[in-house]
């Protein structure tokens, strides 16, 4: 299979992605909202035996159907109608939107108040006659005082400050909250600016008072926290920092491709279980400024990771926690659309009938557990086979005491891993413990739980990822709510609901695993053997 990847974006990040994919033999379709000048594109846009890079300028992506390896993208180009492109994968590589923070500081742009971008532009185009005031009361940068800033903005601030100082001999002040020097080389740059004579005022606890006169001139009263001195500045020019935001178009793309977003609205949730460029949908990747506030080097890294991911995808090598996938029965489906609604990976297809996009299914089992008619089954080995393996009836208690039989359903990505290390390191795991690893805790159904009790388990513990740490985003929540539900049913039947417990655990916490299991065992010892197990014995 050859790859053909659609890239959404109009800046350097999108162009670099196209270039890198081209080097590795992958064709691309670049969809840009503005017209990209020839000079911005690589000299060589073609490759042997392939189409190379093709460009849609003044165009927007408005729709997407299909799934990984077979997406159909709808593109709206100015002047032309809708165009459909077939692609194997999608990369979202939109740049940030920069929003000035005038309002944050209670300022209005004037001859004495300008934005950081404007200052960067002036510094970049030195030919623009820059007319700075003769050495007067100086230039003041406002950054990260009322809201936290970031290394990308700080780099611009310090870079401009340094030039203003060195080349234009201005007095430069930087009024800041937390100085975000964590970016590469920024601490060194900070020292350079200080040596050059840039003056820093740090505030955090006591915020500065900023006033602007009717003529637009600004006065700032503040208290430096480090030097503990009160200051009053009336700079000739104030440069106000900016916030980096996802653009409205990016928000729209999130909807078009049904992608998760982080709290700031950037694409893909903050999900540590996924490679940083992966999203909740297979074949849809997101790089650099579309996924967060990243420095140049990190953006470059992303482009590399996207390329590797696309190469692997074309070669059919996709990592998956599950060998099995979901399959929907042909005749029985009631079209209630539960599965369509809840699949975290958007792998359910809705056409004349409801089916699973096999390539896109991660095999989490959530739909299988949630289908009200139980019409979805596993292809390949599934949970039912795992359950078959649990043998309880033959287990006898030691003569003198009760030793509970516990079944721990462990999410493969978290508890499953901690079990493996726990086994290596602490051989003292209870004898009656049975481990069942599942691709996602969200796939443990009511039926699995009840059947395991029927087999005679004294207790069942579901070990899921911590909230916010689930590869399937909500698998742990499903596990929790299902357990609550089953617990109520058990109580109604006169069965102790305490025999069913849910806990969260991370992959690296083998000791905690042992602790959780031991305390569950203790609890079961207090409750005593399960009635079902007792009756099975007799």
């Amino acid at each position: 299979m050859t790859g053909r990847v659609c890239i959404a974006g109009d800046g350097p990040c999108a162009v670099n992605t196209a270039k890198e994919l081209l080097i590795h033999g992958i064709d691309t379709v670049l969809v840009s909202r503005r017209k990209i000048a020839q000079s911005e594109l690589p000299d060589n846009m073609s490759r042997e035996g392939g189409a190379g890079i093709s460009v849609y300028g003044n165009a927007e992506i408005s729709g997407c159907s299909g799934c990984v390896n077979d997406f159909r993208i709808t593109i709206h180009q100015n002047g032309a109608g809708a165009i459909t492109e077939n692609v194997t994968g999608i990369v979202i590589a939109e740049e940030y939107q920069r929003k000035d923070n005038f309002e944050t500081y209670g300022l209005k742009p004037s001859h004495a108040v300008t934005s950081l971008s404007e200052m960067v532009r002036v510094m970049e185009n030195k030919s623009d006659q820059v007319a700075f005031p003769p050495k007067g009361s100086g230039i003041l940068f406002l950054t990260g005082c009322f809201q936290e800033s970031n290394p990308v903005v700080l780099y611009d601030v310090m870079n401009c400050a340094l030039q203003l100082r060195k080349e234009y001999h201005q007095d430069v002040f930087i009024l800041t909250g937390n100085l975000k020097v964590a970016g590469e080389g920024l601490e060194a740059l900070y020292r350079q600016t200080r040596t050059a004579g840039v003056f820093y005022i740090k505030v955090n606890q006591v915020l500065p008072e900023i006033e602007q006169s009717d003529e637009g001139k600004v006065t700032v009263s503040c208290q430096d926290e480090i030097l503990h001195t009160a200051m009053r500045l009336s700079p000739d020019l104030v440069v106000v920092d900016e916030t980096l935001l996802p653009s409205e178009y990016l928000m729209k793309l999130a909807k078009v491709f049904e992608l998760n977003q982080d709290k700031a609205g950037f694409l893909q949730s903050d999900n540590v279980h996924r490679n940083p460029v992966f999203t909740n949908r297979r074949g849809v990747l997101v790089v650099g400024p579309s996924r967060g506030i990243l420095e140049r080097r990190e953006i470059l890294n992303d482009v590399g990771n996207v390329t590797i991911a696309m190469m692997n995808q074309i070669r059919g090598k996709i990592d998956s926690a599950s060998v099995g996938k979901a399959r929907i029965g042909v005749v029985e489906c009631a079209r209630c659309l539960t599965c369509f609604r809840i699949c975290p990976y958007k792998a359910i297809r809705l056409e004349d009938r409801v089916t699973v996009y096999e390539d896109a299914c991660e095999g989490c089992g959530i739909c299988i557990a949630e289908c009200p008619r139980e019409y979805i089954t596993w292809t390949g080995p599934g949970m039912a086979d795992e359950l078959e393996k649990i043998q309880i009836s033959g287990i006898a208690d030691p003569a003198d005491r009760f030793s509970p039989v516990m079944v721990a359903f462990c999410c493969q990505r978290s508890a499953g891993r901690s079990v493996r290390t726990a086994k290596d390191r602490s051989p003292e795991l209870p004898e009656g413990l049975k481990i069942v690893e599942v691709p996602c805790a969200g796939g443990i159904s009511t039926d699995h739980i009840l059947r395991t009790f029927q087999k005679g388990a004294d207790g069942i513990i579901l070990l899921t990822c911590h909230p916010g740490n689930c590869h399937s985003e909500v698998g742990n929540q499903y596990a929790k709510s299902r357990a609550d539900h089953v617990g109520k049913r058990l109580s109604a039947m006169g069965f102790e609901k305490e025999r069913l417990q849910v806990d969260t655990i991370a992959a690296n916490m083998d000791r905690e695993f042992v602790r959780v299991i031991n305390s569950f065992q203790k609890k079961l010892m207090e409750i005593g053997p399960s009635l079902i197990r007792k009756s099975l014995k007799h």
């Binding site: 490679n275 901690s418 916010g468």
Partner: protein, 340 residues
Amino acid sequence: MPDKNVLIIGGGVAGLTAAIELAKLDCHVVLIEKEKSLGGHAGQFTCKATDECAKCGACIVEEKIDMALSHANITIYNQARLAAISRKDRFAVTFFTEKDAEQSYDADAVIVATGFQAFDPVDKPFGYKRFEDVITNLDLEKKLRHEIEVKRPSDGITPEKIAFIQCVGSRDSSVNHLWCSRVCCGSALRMANLINTRNKNTEISFFYIDVQTFGKDFQFYYDRIRDRIRMIRAIPGDVFRTPDGQLKLEYYLPSEGKQIEELFDMIVLSVGIIPVGTADGMMEKFGLEQPKTGFPDEEFMRPVAGLFAAGTSKGPKTITEAVADAGRVALDVVHYLQKQ
């Protein structure tokens, strides 16, 4: 890339990730790790989730270890040391394995993923190594991985007051470390929140210069937890021990404009990420001198074709950043091998 051999030095999260990515692209990988177990520093870190995952990335290391161990194209030697390396068309490598057996290997490319070294704060006036209850953030990571409630090392008592001192050996011109270590603010704040969540009676004071907030949702996390931590913008002076075993810290409190003495039960030093040096003298073997920033980055490696660096050996990185970096390096290696 079939039939290409890559040597990876270091089995931390970057080395493991690079190994996995290259193996998937059909390269043969030999990974040598000097310690007994894989995972590097991050492999010993604790989970910092409270009611929610704190996105520290530490659990990802286990996943990488699992994947690397199970991949047929990856051979791993633990407790291995590089003995010699030279380059003609390819790299001729010899290393000692665990049982001191000498092993040779011909590699088409080499990735240095030797990670970082933690700054040793023993020369700072904070009493490290003199007072048992002064520990580093890395010590605390390991402690929290094993203890539910953090205990004071000297007597096993639950501390009521803990001070975190940030930027120890980072952003410090006296030791010529002109960089911010990037991860210690996040790691310390997450651990502080974890300790305070598990025991509300433990008060945490956080001595800092600037708070670095990193990662996608970290800003929101910080906003949520900051009220529970006493944030003090000052780097304290000397630490002393009182006769009854507490630690006395002196610092200048700007908002009051005066010098303060305060007692703590435990002090955690957020030590900086510093370069490991020259990876068993390997750099010298290629005639490369100490890099300017101390960290051997791409620029520094360039003179030797086929030699790459990944992860924190190139400079401070979070766990996810190290993963992303190693992926990039894997692609660079593939690109280099294709041109061979």
